[in-house]
């Protein structure tokens, strides 16, 4: 058993075949000239050994100019798997992605510093004090490991969520650079049985994190068969630079053979050209460079074509996730990844707005709908994220889940075939012959079949818009639902063998 995903029968595409070719060819040109600047020596050595042209940068012993001939990239791409399996603590939550199949899996997204609490204080009409209303108010605070546990817990129960990316940066006083990784992995894995992906804070912790995953999966071999964790590494800094430390991490992860998303996030206007042709040629070059390096380190490493392109806001030069172009670039990247047959890690549901509200709904729906329609395999879809992915709000995540259910329904293919048509023609002829001419009696057989979409799930009973209140009730329900923790024995072994996990995360000790 594995998760179903949403098959997009006819993916939405913006690029013609010629445009795809042109972008591909331009990326190849870019990788040759100007090529990359690598701040990572090991990467330079690996690439050097496979035909790249290396040149040291004048007056700097920490960086090299790397020119990648097309042939090197093309060869490396051949060994990148077309099918990537992401395992899960609960094997029913396994995700299997094929690079040429536009089937969408929805994964939570990004690491945020801020956790947004919601409250519904009472307000009184100023000139008619008898009229009271509840108004949603949002309060930001720094995320903690307990928040991450709660988020993992709710995402376990959100049906549309196919996999979990740690979405809260844990900033407790007792979290250090050294123990952050083990705690974020443990908090997530212990409260969620879906696939777990994260970046690594400290390369030192890779062994500990992998050990933890092995203990949970049931050993080294079991983890290989059921990779319950994967990594995301932004080894490329736009434009076209291989970063020293994340490239170290990337190389180390590739050597382990665990799945890894090679992500690049250029910003059109600042770190990439403002024109679509430019950012597309560049991001494609950047991602291909990363994939090439990974395949040269260890051929067959399961990689995701990780694209997080974004446009700059003109009034701040910050990321504008709400810009329509941001969605367009993502859609283009889905098409490029499919061209290479490599599963695509794409981004949607992002917004500029700071709190849940009209603006956030409008901005995120635009990108959720159209990017999903493009058919990326791994849709990093910003469940609950706000303010350019710097804030996480559980209430928003509950809303996003409901909206993705609508998208799933939207993307279902019509059931129109000869057999179905014969049935309905009979109905039409029968009803046409009655005086009342109503089809109501034919509804019941499909009423509970799942064939019909429901009403908007947070529709209130009165005139007012009660969406936030009802979603909040749903959120409380989800928080109250139990999750399947890692068993007592495994937990004990993890605490024994993996140093640095906060004792308060041990649910069995807490019970006593």
């Amino acid at each position: 058993m594995a998760r179903q995903g949403i098959l997009v029968d006819r993916p939405y595409e913006r690029l013609t075949g010629e445009q795809v070719q042109l972008i591909h060819q331009s990326s190849m040109d870019i990788l040759r000239d100007p090529g990359l600047i690598s701040f990572n020596k090991e990467a330079v050595e690996v690439l050097d050994g496979h035909g790249a042209v290396i040149e040291s940068v004048a007056g700097d012993h920490r960086s090299w100019k790397v020119s990648l001939p097309e042939q090197v990239v093309v060869e490396a791409l051949k060994s990148a798997p077309r099918t990537v399996k992401l395992g899960a603590r609960n094997p029913d939550n396994t995700v299997v992605m094929h690079g040429d199949e536009p089937k969408v899996y929805l994964i939570t997204g990004s690491e945020t510093n801020i956790w947004l609490d919601v409250d519904f204080p009472t307000y009184v009409h100023k000139s008619d004090p008898a009229r009271e209303i509840k108004v949603p108010e949002f309060k930001p605070r720094r995320g903690t490991v307990e928040d991450l546990c709660q988020s993992a817990r709710v995402c376990e129960h959100l049906e549309m969520v196919d996999g979990f990316i740690r979405n809260v940066n844990i900033q407790d006083r007792d979290i250090t650079e050294q123990n952050k990784d083990v705690n974020k992995y443990f908090a997530s894995l212990n409260n969620n049985t879906k696939h777990f992906m994260s970046g690594l804070t400290s390369l030192d912790q890779l062994d500990n994190v992998v050990r933890m995953a092995e203990l949970i999966a049931g050993g080294e071999k079991a983890l290989e068969d059921n990779p319950i964790i994967s990594f995301i590494t932004c080894l490329v800094k736009s434009p076209l630079q291989l970063v020293q430390d994340t490239t170290d991490t990337f190389i180390a992860v590739c050597r382990r053979g665990l799945p890894v998303a090679v992500s690049s996030s250029p910003q059109a206007g600042t770190t990439a050209p403002i024109k679509e042709a430019g950012i597309m040629a560049q991001i494609n070059a950047e991602v291909l460079a990363g994939i090439t390096l990974g395949q040269l380190v260890k051929p067959g490493t399961p990689v995701l074509y990780g694209s997080v392109p974004v446009r700059a806001r003109m009034d701040t030069l910050n990321d504008s996730y709400g810009a329509i172009e941001t969605s367009q670039y993502n859609i283009d990247c889905v098409q490029m990844a499919r061209f290479y047959g490599i599963p695509n890690y794409s981004t949607s549901g992002v917004c500029d707005s700071k709190i849940p509200g009209q603006q956030s709904s409008v901005e995120r729906l635009f990108s959720d709908i159209v990017v999903a329609m493009a058919g990326p395999q791994y849709l990093h879809c910003a469940f609950g994220l706000l303010d350019c992915n710097s804030v996480f709000c559980l209430l928003q995540a509950v809303l996003d889940d409901a909206h993705f259910r609508m998208i799933e329904f939207l993307l279902r293919q019509p059931r129109i075939d000869q057999a179905e048509m014969e049935v309905v023609l009979k109905q039409i002829r029968t009803v046409a012959a009655t005086p009342q001419k109503l089809y109501i009696n034919y509804i019941r057989p499909v009423l509970r079949s799942g064939e019909l979409s429901g009403i908007y799930p947070f529709e209130g009973s009165g005139e007012a818009d009660q969406v936030f209140e009802l979603a909040h009730e749903r959120m409380q329900e989800l928080l109250a639902m139990p999750v399947e923790h890692i068993d007592r024995e495994t937990t004990a072994r993890i605490f024994e063998e993996v140093p640095g996990i906060l004792p308060r995360l041990n649910v069995y000790e807490r019970e006593n």
Partner: protein, 228 residues
């Protein structure tokens, strides 16, 4: 045996199974007798019509109403149950008349002149019949004179007028005016409904009640019943 039959009637009303061919909510009763077959059985067994109605049909409809309120049931479920009850009442009608048992009341319904929309009207008719009222459906696009004539001759206690269009809702006022002129206004409670009309409009034209949906019609009639 008789208890079993009545319980089965109630259960089949809840499941909305008029005949044995109906599926109901789930497959558990598939192929077993539906309300109509059970009615035959009950009458053969000489079970009293009163028991059939109160312990079987009405008791079943009460459960249906609760399930609808709690959003477990949807309108098609409700209608299936109401149709089953309506058909059962048709079977009981001669028996009840013989025993001189009165029905809950007589209800006439029409879509007014100029308007041809009848979904709402039909649903109200089905539900009221299922609730035990004697329902007379006068059809669509019915002129005022025809309605007045029916009220004069058949003396229904309740009259439902329906209009979907803003252009035809004024016709409802015309009907009420015609009833007044014929001195029939006080003999009948007039309920109006349909997308175009509102509570305010009902007051304006002097109707007795505005029904926002089919269920408010049932509730309204039941409240008049209790009051009388």
């Amino acid at each position: 045996m008789s208890k079993d039959t009545i319980a089965a009637i109630k259960e089949n009303v809840i499941q909305g199974r008029k005949t044995q061919e109906d599926v109901g909510i789930d497959d558990t009763l598939a192929g077993t007798p539906g309300v109509m077959e059970l009615m035959e059985q009950a009458l053969e067994d000489n079970i009293s019509p009163q028991s059939i109605i109160t312990e079987g049909l009405t008791a079943g409809m009460e459960v249906v109403g609760e399930k609808f309120s709690s959003k477990e049931y949807f309108i098609p479920d409700m209608l299936a149950s109401a149709e089953a009850v309506g058909a059962a009442m048709d079977v009981l009608k001669p028996v009840l008349e013989k025993a001189k048992v009165e029905t809950k009341g007589r209800f006439a319904i029409a879509t007014v002149k100029g308007d041809i929309h009848d979904i709402g009207k039909n649903i109200v008719a089905i539900l009221l019949k299922g609730a035990g009222y004697e329902v007379h459906d006068l059809g669509i696009d019915v002129p005022a004179e025809k309605i007045v004539e029916f009220v004069r001759e058949e003396k229904p206690g309740y009259l439902g007028l329906s209009a979907l269009l803003t252009t035809t809702m004024t016709e409802m006022g015309v009907v009420i005016g015609a009833l007044k002129e014929s001195s029939l206004r006080n003999s009948v409670k007039v309920l109006i409904g349909g997308a175009a009309v509102s509570d305010e409009f009902a007051r304006e034209i002097g109707a007795d009640a505005y029904c926002a949906d089919a269920f408010s019609a049932v509730r309204a009639l039941d409240s008049y019943q209790k009051a009388s």
